[in-house]
């Protein structure tokens, strides 16, 4: 007859995973992915800050160091050994790799920040307007979003930049933001439409709360984690695009960013000259940045969507 069943013996069908469920009510922002990602970026920024304090960043300009030196402990194809003055080696126009990383990393990230911020602001504006105004305005916005998402941004930017030539980083970021508004707009519009029909917003409208208050007090707080995730995603996307443009030769070249460093190395066939430090260090730093952004993004997803948390 009735035998006692511990939760773990419960039949598969009623599958019980008590442990996984219990954190459901914990503070959602204490999400390990989110915190790890943010932590990685924090450490990176701290190191850059240290670098600015402790290292001569002028070494990132050309002809400030001997050419083509390998990192300390390695030998290059000419048999030269790395020297402590340039611990990560130098490249073929005499830039110090360590200084390039210190200078280039924040320059690369700032492009993403600018492009994502502009995209998000435009997205919030257009998304709310499309969602609330509806009608022809909404139709036009939807078409514009669909078209912008379909077009590979890099190709249009190549056309623009091949006319403009090389531009500085801020201009490049603004050009990229021609494409970063579409995803937030589409997302916010969809959310506004569904929330407009939801019970609590309907209640607010019925009780005469002004539209602006509904937007910023009722809808925005619920959108926050999604918007943050979309912002981070856009930032990563903008950095990828910027690197792409730089690798194609459209980056500012006097003070290099990480993408420009890779462009130089590709131009100089560093790959087959086994100058791995030249493209390798920038690549590793970028990989770390992207993984950190992805972790933050996944964490935000889980913060926004409790169902995903349950599945872990």
């Amino acid at each position: 007859m009735a035998e006692d069943r511990k939760p773990k013996d419960a039949p598969v069908a009623g599958g019980t995973k008590k442990a996984g469920i219990l954190n459901r009510f914990d503070n959602p922002w204490l999400n390990w992915k989110f915190l790890t990602g943010a932590g990685i970026l924090g450490v990176l920024f701290f190191l850059i800050f240290l670098g600015y304090q402790l290292w001569d960043t002028n070494l990132a300009l050309s002809a400030r160091a001997p050419l083509n030196l390998p990192p300390v402990g390695f030998t290059n194809w000419r048999g030269q050994e790395g020297v402590p003055e340039h611990p990560l080696g130098t490249e073929n126009s005499g830039r110090d790799m360590l200084a390039m990383l210190i200078v280039g990393t924040p320059r690369t990230i700032i492009v993403g920040v600018i492009a994502a911020t502009v995209g998000m602001l435009v997205g919030i504006l257009l998304g709310f307007m499309a969602g609330f105004l509806g009608g022809l305005f909404d139709d036009v916005i939807r078409l514009a979003v669909d078209i912008t998402i379909t077009i590979p941004s890099l190709l249009v930017l190549i056309v623009i930049q091949s006319v403009l030539g090389r531009v500085d980083l801020v201009a490049m970021a603004l050009l990229i933001s021609l494409f970063t508004w579409a995803t937030p707009t589409r997302y916010i519009r969809a959310q506004v439409l569904s929330m407009r029909e939801s019970g609590y917003v309907q209640m607010a409208r019925l009780s005469g709360v002004p539209v602006r208050d509904i937007m910023f007090k009722e809808i925005m707080p619920n959108l926050l984690p999604y918007l943050a995730a979309s912002y981070i995603g856009n930032m990563a996307g903008a950095i990828v695009t910027a690197i792409g443009l730089e690798v194609l030769g459209f980056g500012p070249q006097r003070i290099p960013s990480l993408g420009v460093a890779i462009f130089f190395s590709v131009e100089a066939a560093a790959l087959v000259r086994n100058m791995w430090w030249w493209w390798g260090f920038p690549t590793v730093i970028l990989a770390i940045v992207f993984i950190a952004l992805l972790l933050i993004n996944l964490g935000l997803d889980e913060i926004a969507n409790p169902r995903l948390r349950k599945a872990n």
Partner: protein, 376 residues
């Protein structure tokens, strides 16, 4: 263990015209009446001491608390109670479908002598639908939106009976099922979104009986439909049940509808079964104070009476009160109710109630209590 609420199973009497309340109900359907058609003595489903919890960080919520009952061959048992009383969880427990964070703490569920809880995963899979089938609560969303109706019926047949070569025979078999539940053949190739709510519910019924299971559990199968369709679907359910000869558990909260289709009614309150009796007795002579409340809440056209608002508070489901679970809302509760949990008491034949008022030593109190109420 003597927790069983129905210790002396006997065949139920034929329906004898019912009670005054039953006469009031619209005679739209089920002309022959419900009680006891083809009910036999054999127990097909024996639920014993079943307990189901939902795990939460603040402690387990007791959804189903040590309930026991029998279902007899050919019988229709109604399971009623207010939302959250554990009636659906009981059904899902019997079907082994309790979704996490819910889990079965202990109990025994025997279908035709098979202990369901001891089956291995593959045995359980094979047992499902042949032993126990489900007509789900939300038929609207219970059909796979990307599969044709026929494929969803074929897949259950083929996964239990093996691949069928003879497509024509399969087609005939499905048409027969359609006919049983009053569906037109043209829906054979349709997708669920092309059907109306009533049709989807009928598809679910057809699917539920496709393998002639021992027991069919209909979980609020008609709740989402409008009143007319509701009655027609309920009628269909009973007709199919009689034709195919399965036993049926109907879960619902519409006492009026249930009265017309079930043989016996089990009343649940906060995870406990408080009363189980043939349908005529429950309506004519409800014993448990909670059952009385439920019967009282059935609206009537003849008299307009104010809804009785139960005083007292509902308890925290993690910390049920000592003694009787209903005592906080019970108008008749006294000290004893807080001290001792009421045992099931066999008041008359097949009529079992879990309330101290029906303990012989408290007869006076019962007489007094019932004198003060309008209820019989």
């Amino acid at each position: 263990m003597s927790q069983q609420l129905n210790p002396h199973p006997k065949s139920l009497p034929q329906n004898e015209g019912g009670t005054s309340k039953r006469d009031d109900s619209p005679s739209l359907l089920v002309e022959e009446g419900a009680g006891g058609r083809g009910v036999k003595d054999r127990v097909v489903l024996k639920v014993d001491n079943l307990r189901i919890h939902y795990a939460t960080p603040q402690g387990d919520v007791i959804a189903v608390s040590d309930i026991s009952f029998n279902l007899y061959e050919g019988e229709t048992l109604g399971l009623v109670g207010e939302s959250g009383c554990g009636k659906s969880t009981t059904a899902y427990g019997i079907l082994q479908l309790v979704q996490p964070p819910g889990y079965i703490v202990h109990g025994s569920i025997e279908v035709d002598g098979t202990e369901v809880l001891n089956l291995s995963e593959e045995e359980l899979r094979k047992f499902r639908w042949t032993g126990l089938s489900l007509i789900p609560q939300g038929a609207m969303n219970s059909l796979n939106p990307t599969m044709r109706v026929k494929d969803q019926i074929i897949d259950v047949i083929e996964s239990h009976e093996g691949k069928k070569r003879d497509k024509e025979a399969m087609r005939e078999r499905i048409f027969e099922l359609f006919q049983n539940v009053g569906l037109p053949n043209r829906i054979y190739n349709m997708y669920p979104h092309e059907l109306s709510g009533g049709m989807k519910q009928r598809v679910c019924i057809a699917m539920g009986v496709a393998l002639h299971p021992t027991v069919v559990i209909a979980d609020e199968a008609t709740s989402a439909l409008d009143v007319v369709v509701q009655r027609i679907v309920a009628q269909t359910l009973i007709k199919v049940k009689d034709e195919i000869g399965v036993s049926l558990i109907v879960i619902g909260h519409d006492m009026g509808l249930l009265a017309q289709i079930v043989d016996r009614i089990a009343v649940m309150y906060a995870g406990k079964m408080v009363e189980i009796a043939p349908v005529e007795n429950v309506y004519a002579n409800p014993l448990h104070p909670y059952t009385q409340l439920l019967i009282d809440s059935i609206p009537s056209i003849k008299e307009r009476k104010p809804l009785k608002i139960t005083e007292g508070i509902t308890h925290d489901p993690r910390n049920p009160p000592s003694g009787c679970i209903f005592r906080l809302r019970c108008p008749f509760a006294w000290d004893h109710c807080a001290e001792v949990e009421p045992p099931p008491i066999n008041v008359e034949e097949k009529h079992v109630v879990a309330c101290h008022l029906f303990d012989e030593q408290f007869e006076e109190r019962r007489a007094h209590a019932y004198a003060t109420t309008a209820n019989p």
